[in-house]
């Protein structure tokens, strides 16, 4: 019996073989490799196998008080005898999250093994269009050749260039590895990562502040982004808007002293137990040797530039990029997975289907979720002009909010449509409980050419929040009050 470990480290193929190499540890690369193809496939994961995204996503979607049911306050209003507010045991939480991530990683290893994909734990870099250098942890170097190479190394969190950032701040990857509860936390950044983390930290009972340099959720619909931060503020998350961090220092007590500058140039500061950076991510392509082989990349982000007609194809034939390192495409896991699958099918199963990056739905998992698909209102106005755009909208109140008298000020839906004919829907935005669940179905309809007329001729399911989407009748143009009344 040949030991698997021995074979994997001792590969030395003298000639180019009909095989594929995937340099990645991310979801994209895994999906590519899991497809059972005739050609043997070899993979080089980086050390931490899909850690960040999964930990964060799991944390936000499954831990926020919203998803585990009503708060104690709401329960009491219904008549439950709940007199004690539950508190979180941080050790239990981090243990179960880490165990879950480990079990997922194990599951991936089993699936890869089952499909005879060799898993090589080494750092890969390109030597030429068909050759990869492997550097293992013990310093051993080998080369391997392949007819196709797929890059899917994902992104890493950025750190601002200020004193103390690298030494004292954590990123979302580290949150569930903290041995002690994060305590009073400052989250720096306006990204969805920042807001999602701040959201569930607030929900778990930690004093949480978000520092934003300019606008929240850049790239998302402006109005929706502001409603999101309004809701978070109403729920107890503090915001420092138009602030930038200047320095982070550790004090004798172990707390972190953060100095900042506000929009007027005034300096200020405060103490925190934990500082988390969520100011964006850069593509982790620095050590791949892209320049060596002539793969074009975008210098500002490190991302690989694809072809218009063949988005995953790099400037070098037979070298492909998928996932977060692909320039100009949504940085989303399901996008990366699907792109990987379709690429594998095109290369080995003779299909011609390309990834459609248009109308990709997404959801920001803050305590009041925001789901969207298609264009933002401002993007639609820019593309078609205000005369040719009709926006339907509604403020609604989820049924479960009535009895506990919860504030529904930010529960809002907006459908961005073309104005002529049956009014093709080009964007849908939903802010409310379970927005992810609601948006998924509508996204499928939108991709199939959903029109406003078709939508309002559908019957709603009662009582749900989603039914308010098909019941929308007030346009922004009319100036009428879009608040839904009645049950």
């Amino acid at each position: 019996m040949v030991s698997r470990a021995d074979i994997c480290f001792e590969i030395d193929m003298g000639t180019t073989q009909q095989c594929s190499l995937a340099i990645s540890s991310q979801s994209a690369g895994l999906s590519y490799r899991k497809i059972k193809m005739a050609a043997p496939i070899v993979g080089f994961p980086r050390a931490a196998f899909i850690r960040g995204c999964l930990q964060l996503r799991w944390g936000t979607t499954r831990l926020s008080p919203n998803t585990v049911g009503f708060s104690t306050f709401s329960r009491r209003k219904y008549g439950w005898n709940a007199h004690v507010e539950p508190t979180i045991d941080w050790t239990t939480l981090t243990t179960v999250v880490q165990q879950h991530v480990k079990s997922l990683n194990w599951g991936h290893r089993v699936q890869l093994k089952d499909k005879n994909v060799d898993y090589l734990n080494a750092k890969g870099s390109l030597l030429d269009a068909h050759t990869v250098r492997m550097l293992s942890a013990n310093g051993k170097e080998k080369t391997v050749t392949a007819s196709n190479i797929v890059l899917a190394v994902g992104g890493r969190p950025k750190y601002p260039d200020i004193p103390g950032a690298m030494e004292y701040a954590i990123t979302s990857d580290d949150l569930f590895m903290l041995e002690k509860p994060p305590g009073k936390t400052l989250v720096i950044g306006a990204s969805y990562v920042s807001l999602e983390c701040a959201g569930f930290l607030t929900g778990l009972g930690f004093d949480t502040t978000v520092m934003i340099r300019s606008i929240p959720l850049r790239g998302f619909d402006r109005q929706m982004a502001d409603l999101v931060t309004d809701h978070m503020e109403g729920s107890g998350t503090r915001f420092l808007r138009q602030h930038v961090p200047v320095a982070i220092d550790k004090t004798d007590s172990g707390q972190l002293q953060v100095t900042w500058r506000d929009g007027n140039g005034q300096e200020g500061g405060s103490m925190f137990d934990t500082v988390m950076m969520a100011v964006g991510r850069f593509a982790n392509t620095g050590t791949l040797g892209l320049d060596t082989v002539g793969v074009e990349w975008y210098s500002e982000s490190g991302k690989v530039i694809g072809r218009d007609e063949n988005p995953e194809q790099s400037s070098v034939p037979h070298i492909f990029a998928i996932g977060d390192i692909l320039h100009g495409r949504p940085e989303l896991t399901p996008v990366a997975i699907k792109a990987g699958r379709l690429l594998a099918h095109r290369l080995f199963a003779n299909t011609h289907e390309h990834m459609d990056y248009d109308k990709v739905p997404t959801t920001v998992f803050i305590p009041l979720e925001y789901g969207s698909v298609g264009l933002s209102e401002e993007a639609a106005l820019e593309r078609f002009g205000s005369d040719d755009v009709e926006v339907y909208h509604a403020f609604y109140k989820p049924l479960e909010y009535y009895i506990p008298e919860r504030d529904a000020s930010q529960c809002y839906i907006k459908a961005v449509c073309k104005r002529d004919g049956d009014q093709e829907m080009v964007g849908l935005h939903f802010l409310g409980p379970n927005a992810g669940e609601v948006t998924q179905g509508f996204a499928v309809a939108l991709r199939s050419g959903l029109t406003y007329q078709e939508m309002v001729s559908s019957v709603g399911i009662h009582p749900t929040c989603a039914e308010e989407v098909v019941k929308m009748g007030i346009t922004k143009r009319s100036g009428l009050d879009p608040t839904v009344t009645g049950c």
């Binding site: 040949v2 030991s3 005879n116």
Partner: protein
């Protein structure tokens, strides 16, 4: 250069014999138990070591299990366990006869650290690493579970 570990009786290793390994030394401590309390006792006894566990349907007088997947898995596991770390402990635990196993209130199904849903189940104790049913008869997967992490 490719290293081979050759199939042969345990007391003879043809290649890569480490200086501290004398011929005749079996690398892994093998323990056989029946029932949950015996299993937990064995785990407690070997606390601190790397523990692997194979949960299997009971064997009849001829040594054959009522569980067909267990029958297929047995020889594969027996082989691949030789690749386990040298100071590991390998516990084979019988979950009982078919009726005992099918009972949904069975200890092995309900115990917090086990929550078994099928036999055979092969696991590295204290980690989420486990293989179930027909996967336990796949030598590439079983080897992967036993090897050093």
């Amino acid at each position: 250069m490719i290293h081979f570990r050759v199939e042969c009786p345990a007391h003879v290793w043809l290649k890569r014999l480490r200086p501290d390994q004398a011929p005749g030394k079996i690398m892994v401590v093998s323990v056989k138990v029946e029932g949950l309390s015996a299993f937990l006792e064995a785990v407690e006894k070997h606390k601190g070591k790397t523990i692997f566990a194979l949960f299997t349907g009971s064997h009849d007088a001829q040594g054959k299990s009522w569980c067909p997947d267990c029958v297929s898995a047995d020889p594969v596991v027996e082989e691949c366990v030789k690749g386990a770390p040298e100071d590991a402990v390998f516990i084979t635990c019988s979950v009982g006869d078919r009726a005992t196993w099918k009972d949904q209130t069975n200890d092995f199904r309900t115990h917090d650290k086990l929550k078994l849903t099928s036999v055979p189940t092969l696991m590295r104790w204290g980690t989420p690493q486990r293989l179930m049913e027909e996967d336990c008869a796949k030598s590439n997967l079983v080897s992967m579970l036993f090897e050093e992490d």
